[in-house]
């Protein structure tokens, strides 16, 4: 098969499919290539299915504390892991199908297979890809391949956008084997709940699985090589979450260097060094969550001479690579590897190609991040340490869930909001939260930051009562020593 387009997007993750939709909206003849699953990792093996799993964990947690709310539950509550996983797959499948409908609605051609770049767009010539069979063994279970897709062949376009995403990093001796050692793929579809579990890495993925499996009843140990879990978060927030997770029975080892991993018949034994002392931890399963890396192999980057650095494609602020007609967006272009960053980059890349006057490059300092463990974490902007390192003279405000009416009523009185201002001019530098529903709250501060509000406008803004969001305003007031409810 063959086809000629204005735009071909390689990869249908959140970055890729959004770029394709925006391209189609702007009148481009657009195609998208996918080798495995519409919606990418996010929708099939990442953000979305884990949120479904964590929702089950949360409801289980509430049910276990049902007495506290004056309710009685006859009998006991127990997890049916098959049903929990099945629900997670259904959620994913529904959205996966939704992407297919989106493509149809926007008249975007879907090309099924693995793309390889073979020619750049040079004088008078279109850029070219060859689409062949996928070289990657698809993770089962897969949602069905959509009907009416184009197949193997040569496709050409004026602009080709590489949105191939990322895959799990592996450390030697900890390669996922589908049995004792899991990556996030296997961890998302357990057949049984392991009695004991070691999780290597305390980033968002590691901590969310720790939270889930602990709720399901596993004995969970988290191993982190750095001094702080969730190392990108503000130290104070991370320390608070650390304590809360430990209260829930999760064992956390920081500054823990892995020496080796031994696989037995039914157990994995991890040899680690903590503060100069060797320890061993045995568990039924090990989840390797040591990070993700860009998918830059086997897509023809080297054929065209597209420059990469540390496993990522080098792009400018508009997603242009060093090769004409070839662009890249999302995880494959480097951190922060977040779906919402990829989506924004996809839109910016397309709008820049069109030459829209309103296009603006992405301010990476204002991209929020969320972690959906119990308690939740959410943040945007600079951490306190980073702000001090840059040299800002800062003003910090804090406000605790323990004194917020709505939080107490919800039975969720653990957590706090921390806000960081530039003392000199009231610029909102960062906001960090830990506690119930903070992932839904952070956007208020993200908007404030993007509109460049100062403490004054936030102080003049009326927040609805009673809500958790009132803590945001109180934290601002606290930064200036005038918190009303503290």
């Amino acid at each position: 098969m063959s086809g000629i387009y204005d735009i071909i997007v390689i990869g249908s993750g959140p970055g890729g499919y959004v770029a394709a939709v925006r391209a189609a909206q702007l009148g481009f003849r657009t195609a998208i290539v996918e080798r495995e699953h519409l919606g990418g990792i996010c929708l099939n093996w990442g953000c979305i299915p884990t949120k479904a799993l964590l929702r089950s964990a949360e409801i289980k947690h509430l049910a276990e504390h049902i007495k506290e709310y004056g309710l009685k539950l006859e009998g006991s509550i127990s997890a049916d892991i098959k049903a929990i996983v099945a629900r997670s797959r259904r959620v994913s499948g529904r959205l996966n199908n939704g992407i297919n409908l989106l493509m149809k609605k926007n008249k975007i051609n879907l090309i099924w297979g693995e793309a390889k770049l073979v020619r750049a767009a040079t004088s008078g010539q279109l850029a070219k890809i060859i689409v062949g069979n996928s070289s990657k063994l698809a993770m089962e279970p897969q949602h069905p391949i959509p009907k009416e897709v184009l197949g193997e062949g040569i496709y050409e376009a004026k602009h080709i956008i590489v949105a191939t995403g990322a895959c799990p990093k592996t450390l030697p001796g900890m390669e996922p084997d589908g049995n004792l050692i899991w990556s996030y793929f296997e961890a998302m579809i357990p057949k049984t709940i392991p009695k004991s579990l070691v999780i290597v890495g305390s980033g968002a993925i590691g901590i969310e699985f720790a939270s889930f499996y602990r709720s399901m009843g596993s004995e969970v140990t988290v191993i982190e090589v750095l001094a702080q879990i969730m190392p990108l978060e503000d130290a104070e927030i991370s320390a608070f979450a650390h304590k809360q997770l430990e209260k829930r029975g999760i064992r956390i080892l920081t500054r823990a260097q892995i020496d080796r991993v031994d696989k037995g018949g039914h157990f994995v034994t991890v040899y680690i060094e903590v503060d100069g002392k060797m320890q061993t931890i045995s568990a039924e399963r090990l989840i390797s969550a040591v990070g993700v890396q860009g998918n830059i192999a086997n897509i023809g980057l080297e054929i065209l001479g597209v420059k990469t650095e540390r496993g990522c494609i080098i792009v400018d602020e508009w997603g242009c690579t060093n090769v004409s007609g070839i662009y890249a967006i999302g995880d494959v272009t480097g951190p922060p590897m977040l779906a919402h960053k990829a989506e924004e980059e996809g839109v910016i890349c397309i709008e820049k190609i069109v030459g829209l006057k309103t296009v603006r490059s992405l301010d990476k300092d204002k991209i929020p991040g969320c972690i959906y463990c119990m308690p939740q974490l959410a943040s945007v902007g600079l951490t306190e340490a980073k702000a001090r390192e840059i040299g800002y003279d800062i003003r910090i405000g804090r406000y605790s869930f323990a004194v917020n009416g709505k939080a107490i009523a919800l039975g969720e009185d653990q957590g706090f909001v921390k806000i960081i201002f530039d003392k000199k001019n009231g610029q909102l530098l960062g906001a960090h939260m830990v506690g119930a529903e903070v992932t839904e709250l952070i956007q208020g501060f993200v908007i404030a930051m993007n509109l460049e509000t100062t403490e004054e406008e936030l102080m003049h803004t009326v927040f609805p009562h009673p809500t958790l969001s009132e803590m945001m305003k109180e934290s601002v007031l606290n930064a200036y020593g005038i918190a009303l409810n503290a």
Partner: protein, 428 residues
Amino acid sequence: MPVEITMPALSPTMEAGNLSKWFVKEGDKINPGDIIAEIETDKATMEIEAVDEGVLARIIFPDGTQGIKVNSVIALLVEEDRDVKDIAEISAPQEPKVLKVATNLSVNAMMLSDVKKEIRVFSSPLARRLAAKADIDIASIPGSGPHGRVVKSDVESMIKLRDHSSVPEIEEHCTPPLAHSNDAILKLFTPGEYTIIPHNGMRKTIARRLVESKQTVPHFYVTIDCELDALLELRLSINKAAPMKKTDDASIPTYKISINDMIVKSVALALKEIPDANVSWLDSGVLRHICVDIGVAVAIPNGLITPIVRHADEKSLQTISNEMKSLVKRARQRKLKPAEYQGGSTAISNMGMFGVKEFSAILNPPQATIFAIGSGEKRVLVKDDAIKAVTVMSVTISVDHRVIDGALAAELAQTFRRLIENPLTILI
């Protein structure tokens, strides 16, 4: 090498002008002083005089072109002796710069709100705070945000620009005291029937320094008419005699002296000859300058700056000419270093090319004199009992009476006239 004729700045604030009419056509021979075109701004209509001689090779903007940016090339002139056939080969400069008229009022930060009688500027709170702290009027900052909203980075680049611009030191609260408050002035006019262009740093500096000068320096003025024919003739022969220099594709004269260069030299020599007038007022005494450093006023978009020709009395016309070209060019690009525009023992403001007959300039302290040069024009004079057409230029010297008295100023004027009318003496 064609000579470029550019859209002149008729006032320091002029950004663009309309070409209302050409008085010459392609192929016409032109002499210095010939009126070649009529330019129109929102304020006035002016005639353009040719500065160089040659054949008009090409008209870039035809009659009636609106909004041509200052310094855009409007026509090309070639050497007289060049074959007119070559004219066709001269290509127009790429992209003639015609100013687009802003029609989208929402992006115009200078729109006035009728209701509040204050400038409505879309800006972020942080941008407003940063601007206020930096003492910059938010309305003077071009916004890069959605719909022209002024955001933090805009203020930051404005602060950077201000800190690195070649505008002389800007002090805080440098706005001169106003005779009337803003409100009192605005009350005199109907809201909606005017716009307000906020001051930039240079405008504030000009205002402050000139108010200070007019209020504290006792000015008086001496006007004298100088006959120019000998000087014009000498200039033609000097330029004709210029040795040719080979470049890659043409041979060009090694120098081209302008009338202004000769005036600079004459002022320098006049002050050298009358050292009592080459002075500055100090509270403690009279500062007598040993050399003559001459500031030459150059109009640049939205302002004015006076680069200095140092030791002009010691320099040849050719040196002065080359130096002036470089100073003017860099002044227009705002690339002058402070050392290149600060100081100076006297100044020249030449509006001759704009057809101004005569005017009086305001002193730029601590300079004690400034020469205001009018245009050279043919006047009918009685000479040796006969009526004669003579090219005459009126020059008015503004003088600081604290250090220079009337008789001395008259002597300076006479000396200057003698040099201009006997131009060979400036070559010695």
